[in-house]
Symmetry: C2
Subunit: 360 residues, 2 copies
């Protein structure tokens, strides 16, 4: 694969392109068409900045570039860190025509996007995601925000980027554990919306795990397409966008119970998808297949031992609790998600009890 591919996230006046290719940063792919003015602030972290900041600068020739390096990790995804980004903008006397550029994973993207949403009631925002999770998930849909000590992503805004630049070469420097965590969302896209894509993932999992350039390019493109189609239907998550939360009600509870950052988000989603599959309208063979794919990707197939009651308590703070009725995104067959509340409560209790005892 040479050159690049692109798709458009269709959101009316908020529509934007996602540009996907390998070596785009090294080649200095120009981001000039999407800058609002001359100056920009690149927000990154101590892990990613040394690897890619200088390459990203080459995509921004002619601009006045400031940069801010944050500590790395979900533990820093707080309002206090967003305040540090805002302080940096003020310190640089950034105006309304400034552009914030997120260089890093989902945490950097979520916080930089939220700062862009809040600075002067909204400035320009560009994403350069460098993790698989951020490329296939956070890059589509404009969800930004931070965690609250009592719940994940409780504080945030919808703020769409002007463009997303995905250089799949950045995945070559990603630690193995983080790469596998990203595969959880890739698998999710197959499960909720595209059985044929799940077949492809299953057939190409070895190539993906070997970070084969073409396989990565296809997975990132297809995952972005699936998510973009869902988001275009329902930008503000009034309805079908909830399908993307398959496994996430459990995942958020897991992350909250073990402490943010102990489990990677994708790892929690993997276990959460297994839990949600258990409550879904699937055959035993389908459940077994899902478990095998997730295990083959090197991801957890059961929750951590934090206690079923603790998980249950954490779920009651989840955004998908609607007026006291716990609705869950479940599968109605492979490739077809649905929001359901007609599952059996004792089945939910049984699944939660996996967190009491490893024997499943």
């Amino acid at each position: 694969m040479t050159g690049h591919q692109s798709l458009t996230v269709h959101l009316g006046s908020n529509s934007y392109p996602i540009i996907i290719g390998h070596g785009l940063l090294k080649k200095g792919f120009s981001l000039a068409p999407w800058l609002a003015g001359r100056d920009c602030l690149i927000v990154s972290n101590e892990t990613v900045e040394p690897l890619y900041l200088e390459k990203l600068r080459s995509c921004l020739t002619g601009s006045e570039i400031n940069s801010l390096c944050l500590p790395d990790g979900e533990a820093y995804k707080t309002l206090a860190t967003v305040e540090a980004i805002l302080d940096s903008l003020v310190f640089n006397t950034a105006n309304r025509d400034t552009t914030l550029i997120a260089l890093g994973g989902g945490v950097i993207g979520d916080m930089t996007g939220f700062a862009a949403a809040c600075y002067m009631r909204g400035v320009n925002f560009i994403q350069v995601p460098t993790t698989l999770l951020a490329q296939v998930d956070a890059s589509v849909g404009g969800k930004t925000g931070v965690n609250h000590p009592e719940g994940k992503n409780l504080i945030g805004a919808f703020h769409q980027p002007r463009v997303v630049l995905i250089d799949t070469d950045t995945l070559l420097t990603l630690p193995e554990r983080e790469f596998r965590a990203g595969l959880a969302e890739v698998i999710k896209h197959g499960l909720i919306a595209d059985a044929a894509y799940l077949d492809w993932i299953e057939a190409n999992l070895d190539k993906l795990l070997a970070r084969d350039c073409d396989a990565l390019g296809h997975a990132v493109l297809r995952s972005c397409e699936i998510k973009a189609a869902v988001v275009a239907q329902d930008e503000k998550e009034q309805g079908s966008r909830a399908h993307l939360n398959f496994g996430h009600t459990f995942a958020h509870a897991i992350e909250s119970c073990v402490g943010y950052g102990e489990w990677l988000h994708g790892e929690a989603v993997a276990a959460g998808m297994i839990m949600a599959a258990e409550l879904s309208n699937l055959t035993a063979a389908e459940r077994s297949r899902i478990r095998q794919i997730i295990a083959a990707a090197g991801l957890p197939v059961q929750p951590p031992i934090v206690g079923g009651e603790a998980l249950s308590d954490a779920m009651s703070m989840d955004k998908k609790v609607l007026s006291g009725q716990l609705r869950l995104v479940l599968l109605d067959g492979v490739g077809r998600a649905a929001v359901r509340s007609d599952y059996k409560v004792d089945e939910l209790q049984r699944v939660l009890s996996w967190a009491d005892n490893k024997a499943t």
Copy 2:
């Protein structure tokens, strides 16, 4: 006047009504049609809550009502206070279908609206403004946010309320100084958009200052109509909405220099309008008339003695500095505002020097 009047702020799917009348709180005017779910959080301050919280509860029968009482004053319009509102929502395990209700002046409205914009990426919001300033200004247009130590309203979001309930009886308990500060924005509406309204204000200023019920009702309605028409043209302030900032570039600089809360916003706007009028395309008689109206309303006609250079520095942080070019909202005759950058720089220097020395 009995019953109530209403107008609609036309913003597509974000359109909302403003309901204006006297005694609406005492009569328990029902807000039920605009609640998203059963529960709501009323955010007020230590001054307003004792006067109106119980009355407002009577407008919300059948709901589960929580309330939060904040300290009073612009000094508390900070991200930390918004965090306290968000903490209260989390503590009450508020869901996506919660409704935040702002009971108070512009500070309460701006912070509560910003919290509503950020909680779970946006929840329902109702405004019950109790100051003249909030009724004629903050109730229209969805600007929410907080101050940064380096500049006013630098952090915020656009988040439209579902309904605004204005009970003009709340103006009867307003301290004289705050009431007069609100008149600054009323006068501004005449100056920027409606010469006939300015005539009416001039002719009825005594009635307004005596807080005559009918005069207040007319002024609030007409001011909301003018602001609603401007905002409907330009919700996100890309163009003509800037006209509402007449006097505000100077006002923000004044507030920043004296410390937020020392001068009331309306007082700073009054002095700022005099300064902007000086740079405007007006006859000497028109300038004199504007000065007389503002003085008759008991408002300042000159900036505080903080130094012209300090004012000038503070203006460079203002949102209306676009790519280094200081654009100002000026008048092109009474009732007609325009964004201009073709004023004389030495005239601007002269006006700023009023802050060096009282002799004007």
